[in-house]
């Protein structure tokens, strides 16, 4: 479990290369620098610039790029390339992610490492092209059919998204699992100054990958186990892997929690709104901090539960009707009051709304702290 450290303030400025970059493009370039061998995608707003960046850059690097016929095509091309042990990125946005659910389940079952970016938009259905966080349940509950979980990493800035691309490849390959990088329309579309610092995770030996049965027995990458006993055994193996991920890969960040007696729980773009709201609330004397999950699965539940020994109440803030709220409730087990504020449909909560929600929470928890 890692609380994210701030970048050292005394790092030599001259060695930094700062560029103004759009989120979708920054994620794409970070993947290339992380050693991505192949990218497959399909146009959909608000992630189309990711596809376009890859269309230009991947051939320059001599790597594979295909604009597929559909999200079904894209994710299954990813399945094929990743089954050969290659480092593969696929990206889409909410409606396209639904089409990918089938292959996500196959890849979880056949233990194929891949990184899939979802730049979430408003839903349900065709929804809107505005930012949303309505795919939290889909992502954190495995995404497809069957009985499994996938690691889900949620950046709240473009710089963090770049860092998490490399981390996603690392986790995918270490545990042989698909990993979802869960962004939203604002993170995809906004431009921010970012440092061009990249990381290329080392390659692990892939003694399972398909390379042609040359001088060794044939390998099969599959999810079909017709005998119930065999499939249950395989499921036990997947559970053990998930337990190892829970033990080692939980990430979260805390801000202004030292003296807090209320906490906002938010991720992604909502966490940035929360930050502004916290600053305003503190001006009026409230002591509020931010608990920001970075891994949505595994959820930092022990860390959140520990915070309940300090704060009197929690406000969950989401760009959805309340999905992460479920995980907060499960983590806190009724230990403290939980309030919720959310906007849907592509709307982004305003800091004023959040401050008002904090006041309501404060009243529920016994009035202002002395």
């Amino acid at each position: 479990m890692t609380a994210v450290a701030e970048r050292p303030a005394d790092a030599p400025f001259a060695r930094r290369t700062r560029v103004l970059r759009k989120g979708n493009e920054a994620i794409a370039e970070a993947a290339i620098r992380a050693g991505c061998d192949a990218y497959f995608g399909y146009p959909i707003t608000p992630q189309a610039e990711l596809l376009e960046w890859m269309a230009r850059r991947m051939p320059q690097e001599g790597r594979a790029f295909v604009q597929a016929e559909s999200e079904l095509g894209a994710i299954n091309m990813g399945l094929g390339a990743a089954a050969c042990g290659k480092r593969v990125l696929v990206s889409s946005s909410s409606p396209g992610m639904s089409l990918m659910a089938e292959a996500m389940s196959y890849m979880a079952g056949s233990e194929v490492p891949i990184v899939v970016v979802n730049v979430m938009r408003g839903g349900p259905g065709l929804g809107s092209i505005g930012p949303g966080q309505g795919d939290y349940w889909q992502a954190t509950r495995g995404h497809g059919h069957g009985d499994y979980r996938l690691p889900v990493l949620a950046p709240s800035s473009i710089g963090e998204a770049m860092d998490l691309v490399a981390a996603s490849f690392e986790i995918a390959e270490r545990y042989r699992t698909p990993v979802i990088l869960l962004a939203d329309g604002i993170l995809g579309q906004a431009m921010e100054p970012v440092e061009e610092t990249y990381r290329t995770p080392p390659r692990l030996a892939a003694d399972w990958a398909l390379t042609g049965a040359d001088g060794r027995p044939p390998r099969v990458v599959k999810s079909l186990h017709l005998k119930p006993e065999a499939l249950e055994q395989h499921n036990r193996h997947l559970r053990a892997k998930e337990a190892a991920i829970r033990d080692a890969e939980v990430r979260w960040a805390g801000e202004r929690l030292d003296d807090a007696d209320l906490a906002i729980v938010a991720y992604g773009t909502a966490a940035r709104v929360a930050r502004t709201a916290i600053a305003r609330a503190r001006e009026s004397g409230m002591r509020v901090g931010l608990f920001r999950p970075i891994t949505l699965w595994p959820f930092p539940d022990a860390e959140l539960r520990h915070l309940a020994t300090q704060v009197r109440g929690f406000l969950v803030l989401e760009m959805s009707a309340g999905q992460m709220l479920d995980d907060v409730r499960l983590a806190l087990e009724g230990a403290r009051p939980i309030a919720f504020h959310g906007r849907t449909g592509g709307m982004v909560p305003m800091p004023g709304e959040v401050v008002a929600a904090l006041h309501r929470l404060e009243n529920r928890t016994g009035g202002p702290a002395r």
Binding site: G73, G80, A83, A103, S110, D214, K222
Partner: protein, 261 residues
């Protein structure tokens, strides 16, 4: 009276199973054509020395078990997606020989998008398309390739084109795409048609090795259980009723030199 017993020091091999075919019984139903097609694939890949380079894609349906019978690296694709999976392999494994093996429910119904676009891109893939006109694994339901009037568990009164459309000639449809270098249709009706099918398969493999484009060989096959016939009846039906609707032969060969005019 003397009895002469002759013992050859060196017995002649008249028949041997191909090395790439696993030495175990298949799980296919008695009389099913998949075993014949598996054998042809194993023979052709073996004769071309491609076994150690091959990455094959198994479909969903009866032939998902191809990886139990062919001694090749295999990945299992979701239903219909084999051509997309194969595209991903093709683009990152330049030296691999990439083979897909699909049935007609897989390729001609749920996977039409993937096969059309892999063919249109001219992916250097060799596609084996086993057409038995029915969904075998799920109990014999109507497929897009089911003949007009043919009874299945989901068209118990026979396929009525007014409600279910006419059979789809997938290979002819694909053959119009410029990315398709070679398309042919064989069958498992008898020894001579099986021999021709083997030649089509060999050509379709050579097309990939020459990077000439996409290659597909459809193989008309039988499903005695799904058709409600004995194996012999099913072969007669394949010859007399199925083959006239789906005529065997080379459908397109863009590797052939253009005729002068």
């Amino acid at each position: 009276m003397t009895v002469e017993t002759r013992v050859d020091d060196q017995p002649r091999v008249l028949y041997a199973p191909p090395e790439l075919l696993a030495d175990r019984s298949t799980t296919y139903c008695p009389g099913c054509g998949h075993g014949v097609v598996h054998r042809l694939v194993a023979e052709v890949l073996g004769e071309l020395g491609l076994g150690p380079r091959t990455i094959a894609v198994a479909p969903v349906g009866c032939s998902v078990f191809a990886y139990d019978f062919l001694e090749l690296d295999f990945v299992e694709a979701p239903h219909g997606r084999a051509p997309a999976v194969a595209t991903g392999i093709r683009r990152v494994m330049p030296d691999a020989f990439v083979l897909t093996y699909q049935g007609d429910g897989d390729l001609a119904a749920i996977g039409t998008g993937e096969i059309v676009h892999a063919a249109a891109r001219g992916e250097a893939i060799t596609a084996v398309f086993v057409n038995n006109g029915i969904y075998g694994m799920t109990g014999g339901q109507m497929a897009p390739t089911t003949l007009v009037g043919q009874r299945t568990t989901s068209c118990p009164n026979g396929r009525d084109p007014a409600f279910a459309g006419a059979p789809i000639p997938m290979t002819e449809m694909l053959a119009v795409l410029p990315g398709v270098a070679y398309a042919a249709r064989g069958s498992v009706v008898d020894a001579s048609s099986i021999g021709r099918t083997k030649q089509y398969l060999k050509k379709a493999c050579q097309v990939q090795l020459d990077r000439a484009g996409f290659a597909i060989v459809e193989v008309l096959s039988n499903c005695p259980i799904g058709w409600g016939m004995t194996p012999v009846e099913s072969i007669e039906h394949l010859r007399d009723a199925v083959a006239p609707v789906y005529p065997p032969g080379v459908i397109v060969d863009r590797t052939a030199p253009a005729r002068g005019g």
